[in-house]
Amino acid sequence: MTDTQHNKIQREVETGTLSQTAADLQDERLIRSEGLGGAVRAFFGRVRRGDLGQLPVIIGLVVIWAIFTILNPTFLSADNLSNLVQEMTPVGILSLGIVLVLLLGQIDLSVGSVSGLASAVVGVLAVQLGLPYLVAILAGMAVGVAIGLLYGFLFIRFGVPSFVITLAGLLGFVGIQLWILGANGSINIPFQSWFTQFAFAWFLPPWLAYVLVLLAGLGILYGDLSRSRRRHHAGLSSTPLSLTLIKAITLVVVLGFVAWYFSTSRGTGVMFTLFVVLVVLMDFLLMRTRWGRSIYAVGGNVEAARRAGIRVNGVYLSVFMLCSFFAAVGGILQTAYLQSANSQSGTGDVNLDAIAAAVIGGTSLFGGRGRAWSALLGIIVIFSITSGLNLLNLNSAARYVITAIVLLLAVIVDSLSRRSRAAHGQA
């Protein structure tokens, strides 16, 4: 009894003397990291412990760009880069869906086939049957959603591993794609339609691009400031104002430069902008909503999530559905960009590019770790390699080998940082 009383007194003394400090910084064992310098130190500390986040892919990207620029300066030209970001967008959207299933610790091997099927559906409905493009597009998306629901149902009801379900989907939906396309195996989309123009010829006017960049900066600034205010109000430590300002200004300068650089060529593509908006939206949903939190929880420990009252089956169903939906959207955009729906749509390395992009971008294959941003960063890496090698007139043989090496490096970095987190008690 005296022991507890002693503890109580000690506790009161502690809270009395330390009441000036924010509620989350009162433990004396905590390494203080206040102010701007503290934030920088905290960042390096995280990296040392193996909490790398998106750092490896950013470093990798800089290295890849440096090498290709040295070998052929055209690589960094505005024409090449603005082409690159348009070209990568359809596969990037597939990759966004892959990030979601990887977060659950599952996999979808069939995104390529689903994108091909959606492409065929749009081609047949819009060109052969002459329906409005909007109807054809909605039908293509509906096909994606239906496939995702089917996967989710099979997974929940029979407990078949997603690996096998989607492997069956990979084969089956290619078959349906070929069957829908019929004997010809190829449908050309008229170049003049708004559908192809959207993907191929629509670019943001420079002023609109700058306005969007400014809005992004203001959004970050507003979000950070209001969070700091709320944290201060709740008696918690908050981000220093200087750091918030630096973050917002850096973002505006970097994005502004990108927009300006693209504007010296054809401009910033509308399709690419759509991709970035989708990534931002998904990141928001993952980080700031209950649904997103439950995805990370299921990916980390299914049983714990179930016992916490999360409707685990609903999470699986929604994620499989979204993944196939994104696959369909990617396929539809690819159709528009290539002005053709054919038997080759969604085949070849589309599947593996999409999965590799998510992993290269820093989403863990083991579930529960990763951000929506990894789809964007990873797909830039993959298409940079493709584009750089094309400029060097190297054939696809070299491209496959180099992409494979980058993928292996990414997985090794993932495993090493996992080990490092374990060594620092953070795994």
Partner: protein
């Protein structure tokens, strides 16, 4: 300081079991179990392996419904059919495996499935300050609530699991071997935590194999043997040997023989051992 008055005379039990039975196929796992848990009281549930402790906890947690007998919670007879229903009534269970998400931070784990929502998005600030409030009340030693649970020690993880059970403000907390995998200091921390639960007026039902823990923290001990009640003792009035006898069902058993053999050892060794074992 502690409860010297018979609690039954002053208060109504939160949870009361009368003649509860459970069979699994041909196995009679529990037979005619009577048990009361009062507010502000720690009841230890002890028994050998296979005595039915885990089955009883699972019935109370809503994992398995019971077959016969009555279960009374706050004066109302209830049938627990699902974990959600059990939680909704105010029965919080901390299972032995803790069920934490290692990749999420302490705040996310504490509020998992019960997140505070503000304008459609997670209210991280409210959750974080509530987490600190709760951890302070428990005098829990967690350096930061923004680190992944994977980075915490065994005792801290147990603390997070127990703190999480308190988020819904339960009437009674069931703890399944909370000190089984812990070191000396962490065990002491968890025992402190259990005392604080009692001070806050929660009823606590504690499963433990460790008699030192039971004697240190429990008010009463309920012994199960082969699926039946084998005595309920007030801790201050019962000796270690009596509890062991109730658990094993005999006064002449392996444990008492061992104790008798030790009594023949030189005095200073016995002294050292009893001092080390005392809380």
């Amino acid at each position: 300081m502690s409860l010297q008055v018979d609690p039954a005379a002053t208060r109504e039990p939160i949870l009361s079991l009368r003649g509860v039975s459970k069979t699994f196929g041909a196995v009679q796992a529990l037979k005619d179990i009577d048990l009361d848990v009062y507010p502000g009281e720690v009841v230890a549930l002890v028994g050998d392996n296979g005595a039915g402790k885990s089955t009883l906890i699972k019935i109370l947690a809503g994992v398995h419904p019971h077959d016969e007998g009555t279960l009374t919670f706050d004066g109302d007879e209830v049938v627990l059919t699902s974990p959600t229903q059990s939680q909704g009534l105010g029965i919080a269970t901390v299972f032995q495996d803790l069920a934490l998400c290692d990749n999420l931070d302490v705040v996310s784990n504490l509020f998992l499935g019960r997140e505070i929502i503000r304008g459609g998005t997670l209210d991280e600030e409210a959750m974080e300050s509530k987490s600190w409030e709760l951890l302070r009340q428990l005098a829990a030693r967690i350096p930061s609530v923004r680190i992944a649970v994977a980075g915490l020690s065994g005792g801290q993880r147990q603390t997070v699991a127990i703190a999480r059970s308190l988020i819904g403000d339960p009437r009674i907390v069931l703890l399944d071997e909370p000190t089984a995998a812990l070191g000396v200091a962490q065990t002491a921390e968890v025992l402190n935590l259990i005392e604080r639960l009692r001070d806050r007026g929660h009823g606590v039902l504690l499963i433990s194999h460790n008699m030192a823990d039971v004697q240190a923290v429990a008010d009463r001990v309920a012994v199960l043997r082969l699926g039946r009640n084998n005595g309920v003792f007030t801790v201050q009035e019962v000796s270690y040997e009596e509890i062991i006898a109730a658990i094993t069902g005999a006064t002449d058993n392996v444990v008492t023989k061992r104790a008798a053999a030790r009594a023949h050892k030189p005095d200073h060794i016995v002294d050292a051992e009893t001092e080390g074992g005392a809380q």
